[in-house]
């Protein structure tokens, strides 16, 4: 479990570093969000800043990985999930800080050298190209096919009632939901604007056709990668019960989109160079005001969802729009909620108290009371069979909430995972059929068992 947390953490660190490093490229007349012409981007001072930025990004990655090795330490290991979240937050903040710091450096150079660009933003559209949109794309049937195929796990669960015990059907719909996003991305890519860089409409058309093909191919490959991930993930959950396959599929989910995005950018750059030669810069304009705190900010743009600076990396919200602002605020609130829930769940201990004819289990979010007449039998076990969490918290040290355990069915767990002694309360009915609890040590668990036994016989 700890190894899995470590791999997941490294994956996130790696992704964050790749994303941060991608800002160093000169794209859409910008480097690190600072508007610079092609000529100015090649200036030695600018190149020096970019070199330092690259080193800083690698340093952040190395330091983050170094800190992650503290996770197995006894003191920290107790709160590994929370420590992981703190590390990830720190890594995201460090990457953001590095980008911001070197952005300021570039702005100073720009100010010092008096590199001033016009502020008028001109959008150039070739109407003949617009009319042809959608005709050169990879057929949409592939994206739709992957969506339909992603329902296979849900159909499997519908047909196999036993599998539903350890794999809730609602969970099996996450895949189709993600595939739906891939379809949305496909259509966004199909209709993506290609700037008209030539006055010759035939050249614009040829370039637009090539770019449309590349963009839709990238979206289709992404849909395929997500489908492969979903199939591998389901096989590992339903058959293998081996977490390493889940990690392997997660690695595919993270690395393949990055590779696809790289391929797409490279192909588009080559195509544009082939069609237009050395790119003209007649449409360069100041863009600083359209990016704030790493988010797109443009009150004059009516769109709520806009492509990221690297369009193939997905979408972001326009925080200059009131609806975009509300969505952004909602995401922050949601993240804080998740953080505080994990923090609260990781730190709060279970307390089991008697109250007349009932015992009350106090746990974060999953409080439960059990009436004496509900209990059919009481026993202890040294090992809990394999099972899956249906709704609850399954951490490194603690597990609580609703679980489905092989041989027991639906259970409620309030356990410290590293204590090899568990008290099993068999209940009337099957929702849950059992409540399994323990305490922080075997001795304490034994004492708790005796107390519950006494309470039952009173």
């Amino acid at each position: 479990m700890l190894q899995l947390l470590l791999i997941a953490t490294w994956l996130i660190f790696g992704t964050m570093s790749v994303c941060a490093l991608s800002y160093k490229d000169h794209r859409d007349n910008q480097i690190l969000g600072v508007t610079l012409s092609r000529e100015h981007a090649k200036h030695p001072e600018v190149q020096k800043v970019i070199k330092k930025f690259k080193i800083a990004c690698y340093l952040v990655l190395l330091i983050s990985i170094a800190f992650s090795f503290l996770m197995p330490a006894k003191m920290i290991g107790q709160y590994a999930e929370f420590y992981m979240l703190v590390l990830i937050t720190a890594n995201i903040f460090a990457n953001w800080f590095v980008i911001h710091f070197y952005q300021q450096g570039l702005l100073s150079i720009k100010k010092e050298k008096a590199w001033i660009y016009k502020r008028t933003r001109v959008v150039t559209v070739d109407m003949n190209v617009s009319k042809e949109k959608g005709k050169s794309s990879v057929a949409s049937i592939w994206a739709w096919l992957f969506l339909f195929l992603s329902f296979i796990p849900a159909v499997f669960l519908l047909l196999h009632a036993k599998a539903r015990e350890s794999y809730p059907i609602g969970f099996s719909l996450i895949g189709p939901l993600c595939q739906l996003n891939a379809i949305y991305l496909y259509y966004q890519m199909r209709h993506r604007h290609v700037p008209a860089l030539s006055d010759n409409t035939e050249i614009n058309k040829a370039c637009a056709r090539t770019e449309e093909r590349i963009n839709t191919m990238a979206a289709t490959l992404l849909a395929f990668a997500m489908f492969v991930f979903w199939v591998m993930f389901n096989i590992s959950v339903i058959y293998e019960k081996n977490a390493i396959f889940v990690v392997l599929s997660a690695i595919i989910l993270v690395t393949v989109p990055i590779m696809i995005a790289y391929w797409q950018r490279k192909k588009i750059r080559t195509a544009e160079n082939n069609f237009f030669g050395e790119m003209q810069e007649r449409d360069i304009f100041e863009q600083e005001s359209t990016w704030k705190w790493g988010c797109y900010y443009n009150p004059n743009d009516p769109r709520i969802i806009v492509p990221k600076r690297i369009a193939s990396m997905g979408f972001t919200i326009n925080i200059g729009n009131p609806v975009g602002k509300a969505i952004g605020f909602g995401i922050i609130v949601l993240l804080l909620l998740i953080f505080s829930t994990i923090f609260y769940g990781g730190f709060k201990d279970y307390t089991i108290t008697e109250n007349g004819s009932r015992i009350i289990i106090d746990a974060a979010m999953y409080d439960r009371s059990v009436e004496k007449n509900q209990v059919v039998s009481l026993s202890t076990i040294d090992r809990i069979p394999v099972g899956t969490r249906t709704n609850g918290y399954g951490g490194l040290n603690k597990s609580y909430g609703h679980f489905s355990i092989n041989g027991y069915g639906k259970c409620m767990l309030y356990i410290y995972n590293k204590v090899d002694k568990y008290i099993v309360l068999k209940l009337k009915g099957d929702n849950p059929a059992y409540i399994i609890v323990n305490d922080k040590s075997q001795d304490k668990t034994e004492r708790l068992y005796q107390e519950i036994k006494r309470w039952l016989t009173e």
Partner: protein, 124 residues
């Protein structure tokens, strides 16, 4: 035809789209019978709300510059047949522009030459 839309201009975007299409038709970049991109596609390419493009198309339709067919979308209509080249508003608008130029000190010859050059630009 290539549209260049100034996003920060004081002229509304729908008005700029309308004007550019009028210039395009007058200069022969787009001919009667040529189709226009769909509202959704053009809005996506310019990066504006489809309502903005819709407004421009509605204005062009009202002026008889385009016709919108349910199955074939927007097409440039043949404005030369049956249309009045000098609408009621035409004289008033030109008169106002000439008055403004005179007010700013332009001579009669300057204005005549300037207008003649503009006519050449449109007709060449």
């Amino acid at each position: 035809m290539i549209l260049r839309i100034e996003m920060t201009s004081d002229t509304p975007i729908y008005q700029q789209i309308r004007n550019k299409i009028v210039f395009g038709v007058a200069r022969g970049y787009i001919k009667p019978g040529d189709s226009l991109p769909t509202v959704r596609q053009l809005a996506n390419d310019i990066g504006v709300n489809p309502m903005t493009v819709n407004k421009a198309y509605a204005l062009l339709k009202k002026e008889g510059i385009i016709v919108i067919e349910r199955r074939h979308g927007a097409k440039i209509s043949d404005c030369r047949t049956g249309g009045n080249a000098f609408e009621s508003d035409f004289d008033r608008r030109v008169e106002l522009l000439v008055s403004e130029a005179r007010m700013k000190g332009a001579s009669k010859q300057d204005i005549k030459k300037h207008i003649s050059d503009l006519i050449d630009t449109v007709y060449d």
